[in-house]
């Protein structure tokens, strides 16, 4: 029976020759992830159940990133509990502040070589779907599912059907993967892919960098999708050779392909060349407008970073647009490198000097303001252009604040001009 790419990976992990949409399966997992918000409740459940050992200390990643460096006593207690558990169970992939490999979970896991094509991954974080960029099946779950998976290395899934996103053409300069996914969410809505996979395919894939694919898959959940998924190509292999040389050397991954006659719930065609710089207005990621189609909106703060856009490529892009320019008077530009590795590379490449000259503040790697944790909370009535993934009511602070989601170029132009703006409006 013909299967989608997601179905191929799930069937292999369930030990079945074939699966079909709607089927309930139990699947073996290659990697299980938790963070400082979701792991502490999972650990509590794990211990309350009298469990003593994890299924494999090499296949559990615990990443303190949401409220770190610890923002208050309660957060510190949560991180301490996670740290004790990681040490007690001798987990290989626990990353402390400042350590090489530390940072925002969905930035560091691929960078640390923990994700490869064909993997099945769950994480107690909704943006776990990011890893689909590397041809892996990855989806978010809650803390109780995390506890069960840490103990058994398994979980149950309902096999999803897929929406096929057929990409053609090439992005115009200044337009990024973020604009692609915002455009798609604007088109199908925040529940447009509910319970389904978003499978990207077509000749347009080859022109998208891995950073752009990671951004696109990261926000699959914002369309309600279970996972987002790209096919494996030369760009994927080059990424793996750089970040996951051990798995490449051991040939420790499997490349699956969707069957040519696989059935899809629907197919959506996107011409990448037709996509323009896009912004999602408050308070849903589906409220998208193209730059140039609205009246000026003054901005108080701009945030560049997060699991969506905190990679080295994003920081290079920010430096490109900020070089020789100044942040608008009275506006705060906060830049959060996504990982210690990104931080070090950005420093080495001189990007921080460009940011500092422009009048930006550079933070330690953290999720921080994205979820209204710390490092840039908004007051009532304040507006923020952010390269993060959600603009719900109260997401970055006061319930009467507003978040406008955008890609890095729009964030930079907005920081310089003091209003929601595209790069076309910047002086040459």
């Amino acid at each position: 029976m013909a299967m989608t790419l997601t179905q191929k990976i799930l069937a292999a992990h369930a030990g079945l020759n074939a699966v079909e949409a709607g089927e309930l399966i139990e699947a073996k997992l290659d990697l299980v992830l938790g963070n400082d918000v979701t792991a502490p409740p999972a650990i509590k459940v794990f211990e309350a159940a009298g469990l003593k050992t994890v299924f494999d200390p090499e296949r559990i990643a615990l990443v303190p990133d949401h409220f770190t460096p610890n923002k208050d006593i309660q957060s510190a207690e949560h991180c301490a509990r996670m740290r004790r558990f990681a040490r007690d169970k001798q987990l290989s992939h626990y990353y402390e502040q400042g350590e090489e490999g530390m940072g925002v979970e969905h930035v560091v896991l691929p960078e640390n070589g923990l994700v490869a094509p064909g993997d099945a991954i769950i994480g107690a974080d909704s943006h776990t779907c990011t890893y689909g960029a590397l041809g892996a099946f990855a989806t978010g779950v809650g803390s109780t599912d995390l506890a069960y998976a840490m103990a058994t290395g398994k979980t149950w899934f309902r096999v999803p059907e897929a929406i096929r996103i057929q990409l053609s053409g090439q992005l115009k300069p200044g337009v990024t993967g973020k604009d692609v996914i915002l455009h798609l969410i604007g088109q199908i809505g925040v529940d447009g892919a509910l319970y389904q996979s978003l499978e990207f395919t077509g000749p347009g894939v080859a022109g998208l960098s891995m950073a752009e694919r990671l951004t696109i898959c990261n926000m699959a959940i914002e369309a309600g999708a279970k996972n987002g998924l790209f096919p494996v190509d030369d760009a994927t292999r080059a990424y793996l050779a750089h970040y996951a040389p051990e798995r490449v050397a051991k040939n420790d991954f499997t490349v699956y392909e969707a069957d040519p006659d696989a059935r899809y719930a629907r197919t959506i065609q996107i011409d990448l060349a037709a996509i323009r710089q896009t912004v999602a207005f408050p308070h849903l990621p589906e409220n998208t407008r193209e730059i140039g189609s609205f009246d000026p909106i003054p901005v108080d703060q701009v945030v560049i970073g997060s699991c969506t856009n905190g990679r080295l490529e994003d920081l290079r892009l920010a430096a490109h647009w900020l070089k020789g320019r100044k942040v608008a008077k009275g506006l705060r530009l906060i830049i959060l490198p996504g990982s210690q590795r990104v931080w070090r590379e950005a420093l080495k490449e001189g990007l921080f000097e460009i940011f500092t000259d422009a009048g930006a503040v550079v933070s330690a790697p953290t999720c921080g303001p994205c979820l209204g944790g710390h490092m840039g909370i908004l007051a009532a009535g304040e507006r923020c252009v952010s390269t993060t993934n959600r603009n719900f009511v109260g997401r970055m602070g006061h319930p009467k604040s507003e978040v406008y989601l955008a890609g890095v170029p729009v964030a930079c132009a907005s920081a310089v001009l003091g209003r929601v703006a595209g790069t076309d409006e910047l002086d040459a």
């Binding site: 159940a49 809650g142 803390s143 506890a147 529940d191 979820l371 209204g372 944790g373 909370i377 719900f392």
Partner: protein, 166 residues
């Protein structure tokens, strides 16, 4: 198993950030989370909700984060059941795992109004609007989900199994 209560009705895409804002995620204590439940959508919710009351909402309830704190906060606030045309998938999973009954029923979610008194029978999926004399049928839970709800969540079923020495 059946419940009865007054309805709090909200719109579509009620997200996990309004169910329990992330600024309160530095705790995982149910009673503390409940104090802030729905705070950014309806600040008066927590002072008005009574044990047994029912949430009715539009499509895609619980969209956003994977935080299990969301169904925990709703349950600890006293809400006995959520009825909506559809639920975000991680919320759906978490609600079952936490023992918070949720029912997908478009007709009921549309017809039931704020303040109505409603009863729900989880065994049959029957939803009765006692205020308006209307009846709806949702797909009832399969037996294994009913066992999870009755055991107060997935871990409750594990404790029951251990209690029986299985």
């Amino acid at each position: 198993m059946s419940i009865q209560g007054h309805v709090f009705k909200y719109g579509a895409n009620v997200d996990t950030d309004v169910i329990i804002p992330a600024r309160y995620l530095n705790t995982a204590e149910p009673a503390e989370l409940a104090r802030h439940c729905m705070e950014d959508l309806d600040p008066s919710f927590i002072s008005r909700v009574q044990p047994g009351d029912i949430l009715v909402a539009g499509a895609n309830f619980g969209c956003g984060s994977s935080r299990e704190h969301a169904p925990v906060a709703i349950k600890a606030s006293g809400i006995s059941c959520v009825i909506a045309p559809s639920f975000a998938r991680i919320f759906f999973r978490n609600a079952i795992n936490m023992g918070l009954p949720i029912l997908e029923c478009t007709e009921a979610a549309e017809a039931i109004q704020n303040g109505d008194r409603v009863s729900v029978d989880f065994d049959t999926g029957r939803i009765e609007n006692l205020t308006r004399g209307q009846t709806f049928t949702a797909r009832p839970f399969p037996p294994f989900i009913r066992r999870i709800i009755e055991a107060d969540g997935l871990m409750g079923t594990l404790r029951q199994l251990q209690g029986k020495g299985e």
